[in-house]
Amino acid sequence: MGKLGVVIRREYLERVRSRWFAFATILGPLFFGGVSIGQIVLASHAAVSADASHIIVIDATGTGLGKRIVDNLGAGVSMDTSKATLEAVPRDQLDSAEARALTDVMHAKYEGYLVLDAATLAGTAAVYNGRNASALQDIDHVRDVVRDAVLTERLVSAGLDPAQIRSLTKVPLQLHTERVTEHGLGGTGMSGALFGYMVAILLYITIVVYGQSIVRGVSDEKASRVSEVVVASAPPDTLLAGKILGVGGVAITQQLIWVFASAAIVFFRAPILRALGASETANIPLPGSISVAGGIELVLIFLLGFFFYAALFAAIGATVESQEDAQQASLPVTMLLVLSVMFVGPVFLAPTSMLSRVVSWIPFSAPIMMPLRLSLIQVPLIEIIGTIAGLAIANLIAIWFAARVYRVGILMYGKRRSFGEIIRWVRIS
């Protein structure tokens, strides 16, 4: 085995054997699998909370509007059979009824109270005051019920039969969405989006976590003076390359374990979902239409991005000796990554926009943005090639820069170095 192989093996095995690796590797799939399944369980249990029916409906319209609302409020998504309390009052007693209701809500006897008056009947306004006034789903549900009831009330006034109204106004429309690629239809849009989002976050976490691991590794070697022993046996460039490749190998190993474990969780989701009381057929965000070629592109872009950042992190590690300095010094590079993540939202919403294209070309953000776009849409081949070529060039520059800083830095002990000094190292080495 050559010297590079020896260095790679040490970097790889020492990390894979650590307790931290085992911990993170087990937690990863539990976390991602848990998030997927948890979403479904939460969605099926708590689409609209029962709070929406635990309210007082004060009806000062003198019509059957209040009763109609009370009848419909309880039959929400949660199939709650409890009913809201109806209080029909003449218009002149509305204020005192409101005051009583307010006291009851303040004493937590009810969640809130809904006031129906002439304005409600006219379809312009209703008042809802409650402890849950900021729960958007509850409020939407109340508003929908009031609007339907007002509509029904008007239609009844116009002489229509209530049964006929129900059948005419019930439109249980579901919008089925599917992605269009150059091969035709492929995968549901929503599952691709969630998958893409998870890929972007996963890549971001991996680069940050393993980048920091490289900074720590290099600065530790420097502080403990091991680097001097090692560079007397192998060239610094070999040491640098071995470190980046070894740590990259650890990241890939961990992700492979995560992918297979997550796939296993998804494969065995039926019993898990059943045990948690959710529908087995619920929609788990699956990659759907990621092809083999797409997978290779994704891995290649990620690896190039990882090596790019890893080289920068290694250079930073070579300039510091203490962990505190390491944290501070790596901040600029970490900020580049955080900046990239700020674009996840915009790219997620409009993956074909000019902004999305630009951020998936810039080497700093490309390793996260391009995989995200690849998961969301069919990215033109020329753009993929452009990104890969850009990252490859950026890698050459970063590795050239890092090798020079590393060579000088690991033997320079003492105070933390200024940026100007580091540039001088690059020139002299």
């Binding site: 085995m1 010297k3 020896v6 260095v7 040490r10 020492e14 530790d220 070697e221 403990s224 003076r225 091991v226 680097s227 001097e228 022993v229 090692v230 560079v231 007397a232 046996s233 192998a234 033997l411």
Partner: protein, 317 residues
């Protein structure tokens, strides 16, 4: 085959406008123990790092074991113990030694066999599965030393090997260095402890402020620097006539009469012969008149002078 283990010619190295090593040339014969002596900051570590190709000289050439330094074939035949010891603290002893051995091109089987031998020899066998940071400082030093010699290098470079060693470990190091010489290995070590250098070295090079002050075999260095110090013993103490001669500044620079034997430092243009003639002429009853070969410590103080002392030099430290 070239009979020099290390051949340094006209080497210069500067950092940030400060010259660490200036026009240095030295030759280390194969199979010898060579001392690189000098005060702190003299350029010893820089010189060693240049021999190892860890840093590159601005000028000059260095060849090691007959090849340009930095040649991979040469790197694997050198064992290096840096001044500030360095091991991976979280690694187990056997794994860190295996890593160091394999980095020198050894295969797994050989490296494990040699680790077993060395651990047994230094009483560390039961520690081989412990992490480095669980070991005492002394044990870590031993592990580092094993790492240096594991691949049985032809050239062993030890940077300040005696610093921080207790007397027992210092003796063990002494014995190991002598054993290496017996087996035909070359050992270069830097030190500012002159006693150690005098006891162990065949040849030395004294450097100060990045410049070579002198070099050569120890016996030759001492002989070349002899002739200025004279040990004088008189049967009946100093008579008035003798005292007058000893006070003559054209003849004697300095008299140290702290012992029964007087130590005289000859003046610049005086000779031992003239001094002896005058003493005999004055009727001195001489029991001993000897041109003393000075110790390395003394030579060092003479040649490097007060600057070296001020910069942390010590003959006995």
């Amino acid at each position: 085959m070239n009979d020099l283990a290390v051949d340094i010619r006209g080497v210069q190295k500067g950092f940030d406008g400060h010259t660490a090593v200036k026009d240095l040339s030295l030759a280390v014969p194969r199979g010898s123990v060579y001392g690189l002596l000098g005060p702190n900051g003299a350029g010893k570590t820089t010189t060693i790092r240049m021999i190892l190709n860890v840093i590159v000289p601005d000028q000059g050439t260095i060849s090691v074991l007959g090849r340009p330094n930095g040649d991979t074939a040469v790197t694997d035949r050198i064992g290096y113990l840096p001044e500030e010891r360095g091991l991976y603290r979280k690694m187990r002893v056997r794994r860190v030694l295996r890593f160091l051995g394999e980095l020198k091109g050894m295969n797994r089987r050989d490296v494990d066999r040699r680790i077993d031998e060395w651990l047994a020899r230094l009483n560390l066998t039961e520690w081989d599965e412990k992490k480095v940071d669980e070991l005492s400082r002394g044990m870590q030093q031993k592990v580092q030393f094993i790492g240096t010699l594991l691949h049985d290098p032809e050239l062993v470079i030890l940077d300040e090997p005696f610093s921080g060693l207790d007397p027992i470990n210092a003796q063990a190091l002494n014995d190991t260095v002598l054993e290496l010489r017996q087996r035909g290995r070359t050992v270069i070590f830097s030190t500012h402890l002159m006693d150690n250098a005098e006891r162990l070295c065949d040849s030395v090079c004294i450097i100060a402020k990045g410049t070579k002050v002198l070099d050569g075999p120890v016996a030759q260095v001492r002989a070349e620097n002899a002739g200025r110090t004279i040990a004088l013993a008189l049967m009946n103490g100093t008579s008035e006539a003798v005292s007058k001669i000893l006070a003559d500044k054209t003849l004697i620079d300095r008299v140290d009469n702290s012992n029964k034997t007087l130590e005289l430092e000859l003046a610049a243009n005086a000779s031992a012969k003239r001094l002896l003639e005058q003493l005999v002429g004055a009727g001195a009853d001489i029991t001993r008149f000897e041109i003393v070969q000075p110790s390395l410590h003394k030579i060092f103080l003479q040649r490097v002078g007060a600057v070296g002392v001020a910069e942390g030099m010590s003959g006995h430290g």
